[in-house]
């Protein structure tokens, strides 16, 4: 909005009553969008019928939108063959904070939305580290504390690394389209400050048919690369092109566009990238590739100055080299294996991929490399498998990975403790319907396993052995173990004991619906639980329960009470002072041009 001096508009409450009075019409960003001054976004207006371009009247605080933004609308008379018209202006910004009334009229009816644009104070933090415990629910935390710290007479012997942070908040995770979110939508809220819809990353879901044509909002990585010289790191134990890491940079309506997301990751210029999912970085001719073209993204990373690591040892070696500023680590073709399988059971794919690093090790390596940037860094670390194991009702695996997240957070706390310039945030992106209800005691009498469930005083305490130095109990199959159940599930056989043969597969597809997986049927005491989800649900599902965030360091004092997930973005950009005008010499555009050329010339 540099082209016309618009002033914030004082909004009368009555306007809100008109919002949404035209069905199937829309304005993006949506009503009540609360976003950062100076951040880029695409402005789109959709009408519910064909509107001649001359009849379209779009204003922002009463000023014609094309004048306000200094750009003309891309007019779509019948967008994607629909019987309705749309107008789109890409890459606009509003620099002045305040309220904005946006009105779009087709000559007869008018739709209205109100935006609230905020700016930030001066920079408070040199670094920001955002930990995402994907799907980490309260029961995951509690069980992780019990198993890794121990509890006697009602008191724990210790706390998880994120338990004693000074600030916390309950986070609302719902999206534009639904009370239930997914990891794409929820991460996008943290990294853009805009709510979106299930499966969408860095876009508002409009009526466009092309996944890549929806109105975009700027991501944290783009903002940091455009306005500052900070380094950016993205670490996960899921696939690099999975929703949470993709949220740091991607723009697509469908998180399933993994080949495109891998390219967008490379183009984002993130300096440290580590995780699984190599299958989408290899050219199609390489056996094991899931790409549909010949782009070799591993080679592109190598050619553009990144150290490439495919094992734990290579990662440690690259990070220890003081000249390493950029690191691409990929350690598995798919999702990496979790802590229980890697440390204890050696199941999953550990035999085929024995050299995978831990999330805590990746965090240490990422901080070592990123902290060499004198301007500071933004690092996102995801413990992605907490969610991947909550889905199949495999609570032991999700809890061992919660312990691993605690170890990773400890690495960041140790780094932050030496200085007072690093904001550390630990939060789930959404929750699961999981609870600890007592214990299962094999010694209790009774013919059925449910007879062995202890509740209230009969629960007592579990008898897991003392944890090893990393906080993992060396045995998970004990005689008095936690009784943990999920509240939302497909048909499955409850076995009341850990699945030692590999990650649990509760339901399998049969005749287009999901039925209980019969491989557990003959386990002693197995009990069929008839699902309470639709038969199309293959696993347990996400819940709308609030997520619990904890934080420390400069800027963390803003976390309190209940907050929408988009406010996490605001706290981070405020800590980094990103509302300030762009510095000259930022690197984003150059890299885009340079690497797009590289991608197409292969």
């Amino acid at each position: 909005m540099r082209h016309h001096a618009m002033r914030p508009y004082v909004i009368a409450l009555v306007f809100a009553l008109f919002v949404g009075d035209v069905a199937a019409a829309a304005i993006y960003p949506i009503d009540r969008a609360h976003f950062l001054a100076g951040s880029k976004f695409d402005f789109k207006v959709e009408f519910d019928q064909i509107v001649p371009q001359g009849s379209m009247r779009v204003t922002i605080n009463g000023i014609d939108a094309t004048r306000a933004f200094g750009k003309t609308f891309q007019y779509m008379e019948n967008e994607d063959g629909s019987n309705a018209s749309s107008g789109l202006i890409r890459d606009v910004t509003i620099t002045e904070p305040g309220k904005y009334l946006v009105e779009a009229s087709d000559g007869v009816t008018t739709q209205r939305v109100i935006w609230d644009v905020y700016t930030t104070g001066p920079r408070k933090a040199k670094n920001v580290i955002l930990f995402i415990g994907d799907g980490m629910s309260i029961a995951n935390r509690t069980a992780a504390r019990m198993l890794s710290k121990g509890i006697r007479e009602g008191k724990y012997y210790g706390q998880l690394a994120f338990d004693d942070m000074p600030h916390m908040a309950l986070i609302g995770t719902s999206g534009v389209d639904s009370i239930i979110t997914d990891s794409a939508n929820s991460m996008s809220a943290y990294t853009t400050g805009h709510k979106s819809s299930v499966n969408a990353l860095g876009v508002y879901v409009s009526r466009a048919k092309d996944n890549l044509a929806h109105p975009k909002v700027e991501t944290l990585t783009e903002l940091v690369k455009r306005k500052t010289k900070l380094a950016v790191g993205i670490v996960t134990d899921a696939e690099l092109e999975d929703a949470t890491p993709a949220g740091m940079f991607a723009h697509t309506r469908r998180r399933g566009d993994k080949d495109i997301i891998a390219e967008q990751m490379f183009l984002s210029g993130a300096d440290v990238v580590m995780g699984g999912g190599s299958a989408y970085f290899l050219p199609q001719k390489t056996p094991g590739s899931k790409r549909k073209d010949d782009n070799n993204l591993v080679e592109l990373y190598r050619r553009t100055g990144y150290r490439v690591a495919t094992t734990d040892a290579e990662m440690a070696q690259a990070a220890a080299d003081a000249s390493t500023r950029k690191l691409f680590g990929v350690f598995h073709p798919d999702n990496m294996d979790g802590a229980l399988d890697r440390h204890l059971l050696k199941k999953g794919t550990v035999d085929r991929f024995p050299d995978q690093p831990d999330v805590a090790d990746m965090t240490r390596a990422a901080i070592d490399v990123l902290s060499r940037n004198p301007d500071g860094f933004v690092l996102m670390v995801e413990a992605g498998l907490i969610d991947k194991y909550n889905h199949p009702l495999d609570w032991e695996r999700s809890v061992y990975d919660t312990i691993m997240l605690s170890n990773a957070v400890q690495v960041a706390k140790d780094f932050a403790a030496k200085r007072n310039d690093t904001l550390v945030i630990v939060t789930p992106d959404h929750t699961h319907g999981v609870s600890i209800v007592g214990t299962v005691d094999d010694a209790k009498p009774g013919p059925e396993m449910r007879d062995k469930i202890g509740v209230y005083q009969e629960a007592g305490f579990p008898n897991y052995p003392a944890p090893d130095k990393d906080g993992y109990p060396p045995s998970v199959d004990v005689s008095r173990r936690l009784a943990v159940f999920y509240g939302n599930f497909p048909d499955y056989y409850e076995t009341f004991r850990p699945n030692l043969d590999g990650p649990r597969v509760p339901a399998v597809s049969k005749d287009k619906v999901y039925v209980a997986n019969e491989i557990y049927k003959d386990q002693p005491g197995a009990m069929l639980r008839v699902g309470n989800l639709p038969r199309s649900a293959d696993t347990g599902t996400h819940t709308a329960d609030d997520a619990l965030l904890t934080a420390m360091g400069p800027g963390s004092e803003a976390f309190h009470g209940f907050m929408e997930n988009v406010e996490v973005f605001r706290v981070m950009v405020d800590a980094l002072g990103l509302g300030a005008p762009a510095r000259s010499g930022a690197r984003g555009a150059d890299r885009q041009t340079q690497t797009k050329r590289a991608l197409t010339s292969q």
């Binding site: 929703a243 056996p287 073709p333 798919d334 049969k510 287009k512 997986n517 293959d538």
Partner: protein, 151 residues
């Protein structure tokens, strides 16, 4: 124990048929297990096993699980090592395992058989290929295939 589905008929005829089919099959087909597909699986790619490479173009029999169909009218199905817990076609957060086999059946597929263990017999075809109808990428295929539900 696995038992191939057989044609209905008198017990004696059934037994004779089975015996004959087994003898004929032994002469023309080689049974391949999922464990035998790759010599090496690494982060930067997999390497097909020598046995698989030498069987390319020949008739093979593979045991696996029939994954949920892509669409009702699709011309191929996906064979997996274990029953698929997630449906990558229905859930955008799910993805196929790396070691799938794509099967193009000789006759149209009965869509009501997904999730079942099957024995697939057909010609082994190797090399990256994109399905023209769906854009689905495959490396190992069995074409002109017949399949039998095993129980």
């Amino acid at each position: 124990m696995l038992r191939r589905g057989i044609l209905r008929g008198g017990a004696l005829i059934g037994l004779l048929y089975c015996g004959a089919a087994a003898r004929v099959a032994a002469a023309v087909e080689s049974t391949l297990g999922f464990n035998e597909l790759y010599a090496k699986q690494s982060v930067l790619g997999m390497e097909l096993s020598m046995r698989v490479k030498t069987l390319a173009g020949h008739t093979v029999r593979i045991l696996g699980y029939l994954a949920p169909p892509l669409k009702p009218d699709v011309r191929f199905f996906v064979l997996t090592r274990a029953p698929v817990a997630l449906c990558p076609f229905c859930n955008s957060d799910a993805d196929w395992p790396s070691d799938i086999v794509v099967v193009y059946p000789r006759a149209p597929l009965d869509a009501a058989t997904d999730g079942l263990p099957v024995a697939v017999t057909g010609t082994l075809e190797l090399g990256s290929k994109i399905d023209a109808q769906t854009g689905f990428v495959s490396l190992v295929r069995v074409i002109d295939a017949e399949f039998t539900v095993v129980r």
